[in-house]
Every structure is written in C-alpha cells, then in structure tokens.
C-alpha cells in the first residue's frame, strides 16, 4: 500500500503544479474553462491527499511496521487513539497533515467563492496551488512518509510525553491556524495580481482569518496546558523558539484582524493590511520552519536536515513575491481618507497595531538573533527569559489598556470633554481596584498590580458597553432586558463577539499575572509522615505505591492535603517508567495538581528525586488564579463563535452592494 501512498502524493504534486501553472495561464489569457479546470485540479488535490493520509493512518492502525515512519512512531502496545495521533508525531507525518489541511482549506475556499468574486478567484487558485506545490514536493522528493523496510517485530513507540490528549489535539489546532493564514494571504495576492484592490478580498476572507486565528490561539493554550501538566516545571510558557513560532503569527494575525476593520470602516490602511497579511503568512511558514528544520538546536542540525534549506528557499520566495506584488500595486492601494484625529477609534486601532507588530518583531529578533549570531559570527548566544519578559510587559501592558480605551472612543474623532464623561466609570473602577489590591498586598509585584488595574479598567469599559447598548435597545424597542441584550449581540455579532474575546484576553492576563507574579513555592525532602506548609496549605507525605500498567511502571507518592486544619483529601504525584525497547528507560514526572474551583487556585506538586529509603524530594507551588488561563480559552472560543456566526443581515447588505456593481461580483 506504500506504493499507492507514494502515487497519491505524486498525483497531488502534479495537480497542484497544474493548478499553479495552468491557473496562471488561464487568468492571464482570460480563458474560462481553463480556469475552471485549474480550480478542479486544486479541489482534486485535496482528494488525493486524503487518500495518502488514509493509507498512512491505516498503516498505524494495522501496525504495519514495514513503513519506516510507522515503525519509528508507534508500537504494538500503543493505545488505540494514539495510533492515529502518532500520524503527526514526526516530521513527515506533520508535513502530510500540513498538506492535508492546506488542500482542504484551498478546495473549500475556491469552491465557496466559485461564483462570487470570480475575477479574484481565478488568481487565488494559482497562488494556493503554488503554496501546495511546495509542500507536496517536500513530501514526494525530500521527506516521504512512505519509505519502506523489512518489518521489525515491533515499533520504537511514541514519545511518552506525546501520549496525552493535549499533544493529540495541540498540533492539529496549530496547523489549522498556521495553514488557515494561507487563505487570506492567497486572496490578498489574488487581489493584487488581478488589480482588484476593492474590499472583496477582505470580505471573502474575514471568516478564514478569524477561524485561523482562533485555532492558533486555542492551539497555543492547549500547548500551554500540556506544558503545565506534563513538562512539570511549574510554568506554562518558556519563551522557547518553538512556542514563539506559534505566538508570532498569532500576534501578526491579531494586528491584521484589527487593522482590516479600519479599512472596512474608513477605507484606510490598504497597504498596511496587505503587508500584515503577508507578514502573518510568512511567519506561519517561518514557524513551521523553526519547528521542523531543527535550526533551533543549532546551525549544525539545520545543515544535516535538507528540509531546512527548502523551507528557507520557500520563505525567501514568499517574501520576494509579496514584496514585489505590493510595490507593483502601490498606486492601486492609495487611500483617499486620512486619519482625522489622534483621539479616535481608528487611532486606537493604529496604536494597537504598532504595539502588536513591535512585540512580534522583538520576539522575532529574540528567536533569530541566536541563529544569526551563530551563522555570521560563529559564536552562539542564548536570548533568555528576561529579554522576552521585558518586552512582553513593555508592549503587553499598554495593549491591555488599549482594549479598554478602544470601545469607549467613537470612530473618526472624539472631543476630550466627551471622553471625560465616558471614561469616568471605568477609570473609577480601575483606581478603586488598584487601591484595594494595594491594601491587600498586591504591591509586591508592580507589573502584577498594573496588570490588575488595567484589567479592571477593561472589564468595566466592556461591561459599560454592554449595559449602554442594551439600555439603548430597550429605549428603542421596549424589549425586556434579556431580549434586548440578546438582540444587541445578535445584531452586532462581530463587535460584541470581539468584546467577549477581549474579556478572554483579560482573564488570560489576570491568570498570567496571578500565577507568575503572586505564586509561592516551598521545597524539601520528606520522609513518610513529614509535611511541608505553603500559603495556608499543609501537604503531608503519606506513602509510596507502585503499580504496573500495560505501558509503564507507575510509582506514586500519596499526599494528604489540608488547609487551615481542614482536610482537603489526597493527592498523588510520581513518576512513570515506560516499557519501551531502547537504550535507556523513558521516565516522565507526573505532577499532582489540586484545583480550587472557587478561587481558581492550584496546589501544584512536582515530585523530584525518589530516594531508596522511601523519602521523596518535593517542590510545591501555590499558583493563584492560574485556572483563569484555561477558562479564558473557553471564553475566547465563545467570543470567536459569536463573531463567526453567519449574519443574514450582513449577507443581504453585501448582496445589495454587489448587485449595484454588476454581474461578476455578484453571487449567482
């Protein structure tokens, strides 16, 4: 079956090449049937990629160790569902997943828009085809997942740290996000290529951008939660290049989501928007490059894997291509309107954009500098946590504040006097919160206190926004409070969905500040019966037990937890030794976490050394409010869904607009 897999990938490559080359010819010469044929090729490439993926998945399910990839990432003892997720446990499979999502997105995007924005789509097809050519070429020629061998008796198994529901879902979500950015990029390039720089490319890709962005956000949060529970060092984000690889496109996409609104509302920032969408897309490729090429470890491992050079070449091509396109079409991107005032909604959006891009670029520098330094000067450096923390606070805190300022300021211009009135309440809430927190002792961390004060301001501003809107609706329609609230959100889904997302970001900020600025830690070696005390909790080490499962030997220390004399039950923490054939046993620490759902606080126990005499070295953290991080993910998803929900009113408005313009723009 490996032959069929290889053949399917080859077919994908040919189809994508066809879509790219023939699609370009069709668009240039204006031949309708040829353009449709290129579009069909792009759609068919999804089908053949599905076939290839299905064959690899079948290889995993049937323990077909004659496939090298299956043998290296699975074993007979691997649990059921992980046999499927092992698909993205390695290089080749991850690339295949990339291609699968890319062709899937591409097929869907050209199919949905086949009758709308037809003059754009003829150019979108070759761009998407071109991107897919790169990935299918890699899979055919450089990193085939269908290499075969004489089947060994058993595979070498999946890295135990990846045998986890989070690691199962984290990569697909990230890829859904990364790859999703290819669609707005392709439409932007399609708009430039066709010279149709009206708003249609933005209207057509609004949802794509939002979906990709949401998936990136959720994917990163899943990754953080995984790191928190599995890596067991007590944190959730380490500014690792591989983590930053996902954060950078997320930040660029966030900036794009906001700046695109200024173009819709005011017709400004057309150049900036194409630059941002290209930047976000290139960062997503760069992110894949970082995680896949091994360049993060060192230049040498980069040189060893040929895949890095291909990625680098593709990034260079993408940068050159988008730059040339933007410069070429600069005359078409001039906007007639100007920023009227520095105190206006669009000005706040502009500040937000500058901060996001600045944050993104400083992170990029922190990631690239060690690589450049090693490549150019020959001596390697490490850019550590302090650098990232510094710039994260420097740009992140003003960003947080702007989230509260934005909703309070009107478009176009606002007078300072008018602003004073709208700012009174949120500012009062913020100051009151700051004072109360200061009294409670939150002054121990200045950034933490600032973050909380700003958070209070944003929450008050958003709350006020909802109250005012609902009140105005009630004045208009005599509806009851809940009905008025419902119709307010329903009629302005993007705006109020956006506010819900802002609430999520605030929850996230509160969680980050709480768990990193106000945590407490205690550590020590405990014999049976001994206890450690940390911020009100007493953790007593009761005993050690060992159990055997199919995959691992699990050693667990049982701990009795109490707070202020009141027993809170037992907690387990320990180590798993996995039964995998190999040079050394694979061990993983299993932390013990007790969540207080009332306060959002975690008691977090890391098992250190387990000594022969039965004593154990423990590190115990108390992390206040850390669960708001995970809650923020749910709120974030909710807000995105509200903003994404189809809006019939908006569809009608667009239909009227396109009817006014005449046939090719209109849906038929």
């Amino acid at each position: 079956m490996a032959d069929l897999g290889r053949a399917a990938l080859l077919v994908t490559l040919v189809l994508c090449l066809y879509a790219c080359v023939v699609g370009t010819v069709a668009a240039v010469t204006g031949r309708r049937r040829l353009a449709m044929s290129a579009r069909n090729a792009l759609i068919a490439s999804f089908g053949s990629t599905v076939v290839a993926t299905a064959i690899l998945v079948a290889g995993f399910v049937r323990n077909d160790f004659s496939l090298v990839y299956v043998a290296e990432h699975s074993s007979r003892s691997l649990g059921g569902i992980y046999k499927v997720s092992a698909l993205w446990g390695g290089q080749e499979g991850s690339l295949l997943l990339w291609l699968l999502i890319l062709t899937g997105y591409a097929a869907l995007a050209v199919w949905i828009n086949r009758n709308r924005t037809r003059d754009l789509v003829v150019w979108v097809t070759p761009v998407l085809g071109g991107i897919a050519v790169f990935f299918s070429f890699l899979l055919v020629a450089v990193a085939t997942p269908f290499a075969t061998q004489v089947a060994p008796l058993d595979g070498s198994g999946l890295n135990p740290s990846l045998q986890n529901p989070y690691m199962m879902s984290h990569p697909p979500f990230l890829y859904l996000g990364y790859v999703g950015l290819a669609v707005p990029f392709a439409f932007a390039m399609g708009a430039l290529l066709s010279g149709r720089t009206d708003e249609r490319w933005i209207v057509a890709t609004r949802r794509w951008t939002l979906i990709a962005w949401t998936a990136l956000g959720i994917g990163q949060l899943l990754g953080s939660h995984w790191a928190y529970l599995e890596v067991g060092w007590g944190g959730f984000y380490a500014w690792d290049p591989v983590e930053n690889a996902a954060l950078m496109p997320f930040l660029a996409a966030t900036a794009f989501l906001h700046s695109v609104m200024i173009q819709e509302k005011r017709g400004m920032l057309k150049v900036w928007n194409v630059v941002l969408v290209s930047f976000a897309f290139i960062l997503s490729i760069f992110g894949t490059f970082l995680t896949r090429s091994g360049i993060v470890n060192s230049i040498h491992s980069f040189a060893q894997s040929s895949i890095g050079a291909w990625f680098l070449a593709f990034i260079v091509i993408a940068v050159v291509f988008s730059t040339v396109m933007i410069v070429w079409r600069l005359p078409l991107l001039r906007s007639k309107t100007k920023l009227e005032s520095l105190i206006s909604r669009e000005a706040v959006f502009l500040y937000n954009n500058l901060l996001l891009v600045a944050l993104c670029l400083t992170i990029l520098w922190g990631v690239v500098w060690p690589i450049l330094s090693e490549a150019v000067r020959g001596d390697s450096v490490v850019v550590g946590r302090p650098y990232f923390d510094f710039f994260f606070r420097l740009f992140g805190l003003p960003l947080l504040l702007l989230m509260g300022v934005g909703p309070l300021i009107a478009w176009r211009r606002a007078s300072l006097r008018g602003l004073g009135r709208t700012f009174v309440w949120p500012a009062a809430v913020a100051v009151a919160t700051g004072v109360v927190l200061l009294i409670l002792g939150a002054g121990s961390s200045a950034p933490g206190l600032v973050a909380y004060t700003f958070s209070a301001f944003v929450l008050a501003a958003i709350g006020l926004e909802f109250v005012r809107g609902t009140r105005a609706r009630r004045a208009l329609s005599d509806e009851s409070w809940p009905v008025a609230f419902g119709s307010l959100v329903g009629r302005n889904r993007r705006r109020y969905g956006g506010y819900v997302v802002h609430v999520a970001i605030v929850l996230f900020a509160i969680g980050v500040a709480g768990s990193s600025a106000y945590d407490s830690v205690v550590e020590g070696r405990l014999a049976k019966g001994e206890a450690l005390t940390v911020s009100g909790y007493t953790v007593r080490y009761v005993g050690l037990s060992e159990r055997q499962t199919d995959h691992a030997t699990e050693v667990r220390a049982t701990l009795a937890v109490s707070r202020n004399g009141e027993s809170l039950g037992a907690l387990e923490a320990g180590k798993n030794s996995y039964k995998i054939a190999g040079p050394d046993p694979q061990v993983s620490s299993e932390v013990g976490v007790r969540t207080d759902y009332r306060t959002g606080e975690d008691l977090f126990v890391i098992p250190g050394t387990i000594y022969d005499d039965g004593s154990v070295y423990f590190r115990i953290f108390v992390k206040p409010l850390v669960n708001l991080l995970w809650l923020s993910g749910i709120v974030f998803l909710l807000g995105s869904i509200i903003a994404l929900w189809p809006d019939a009113r908006e569809q009608r408005r667009l239909a009227v607009r396109y009817a006014a313009a005449g046939s090719p723009a209109r849906g038929r």
């Binding site: 500058l354 390697s380 070696r525």
Partner: protein, 146 residues
C-alpha cells in the same frame, strides 16, 4: 545618489499630512530607542559555549554539552556533580559541573543538555534550576539515532 528635491509645492505652504505617519514614525523611533537601550544594558543574550571553549569565558554563560560518566551527589542537597563534554566529540576536554535544583526527567549519561552558570576555580557552578535537557523530541528534524 543625490537627494530628490522637496515636493512640487512652494516652501512654506503647509500641506496637510496624515497624523498617522507622524505617529508611526515616532513610535518606531521610540521602540528602536527602547530596544537599543535594553540590549546595550542587559545585553543581547548570554553567550552559549561548549565545554572545550569554556576556559576562555569569564562571565555567565550557557553551557551546552553531553553528560559523560556517572553523576554523583544529590541535586537537592550538596549538589549534583557530573562531567560534560562537547556534543558528538568524544575527544574533547570535559568539565566538572556542580548543579543544584530540579533535574529534568531525561537527565542521564549520554544525554545532551544546556545549563547556565559560570566557571569558578575549574568547576562550572550552575545557576540552580537552569538545567534543560535537549530532548530527543520527535518534533525536531534530527532523529535521536543520528
């Protein structure tokens, strides 16, 4: 290349410019200033060295190496002692490392790791809690067997 002359309108006539440009220019200048200030004060990063290059370093560095031999001692008490040599270079000189704090699960002889600290009297005294193993993760390009 000679500078292009100013725009075609007479000097002194104020052309109304978008304030956006001013804001963008000012903020880029501000960000650059902060960035340069930060990197010049706090440094652009810690140098990363191999055990064979360690002798030339005086300040704090990030040491990358491979664990050789059996580690001794207890990281939670008087400190874990082990030797590191250059990754993939069996002939390189080794250095004794003294480390306290949490030890990653993957720590073992033969494993590559990174640890921060400074050389003191021939022993590399590590900053507690900075040890990171370069994990043979399946998410990187090189296979552990390479």
């Amino acid at each position: 290349m000679p500078r292009a002359p100013r725009g075609g309108y007479p000097q002194g006539v104020a052309r109304k410019r978008s304030p956006a440009r001013l804001v963008i220019a000012l903020s880029i200048a501000a960000v650059l200033a902060v960035f340069l200030l930060y990197t010049s004060i706090a440094g652009g990063g810690t140098p990363s060295v191999k055990p064979s290059e360690l002798a030339a370093q005086t300040g704090p560095v990030s040491l990358v190496g491979q664990v050789v031999g059996k580690p001794k001692g207890d990281a939670n008490e008087e400190g874990l002692r082990f030797r590191l040599r250059d990754v993939k270079d069996p002939s390189s000189p080794t250095v004794l490392v003294l480390y306290k704090g949490s030890v990653p699960d993957l720590f073992a002889p033969g494993r590559d790791l990174v640890v921060e600290g400074a050389l003191r009297n021939g022993t590399f005294v590590a900053t507690p809690g900075t040890m990171v193993t370069k994990c043979p993760s399946k998410y990187t390009a090189i296979k552990p067997s390479d």
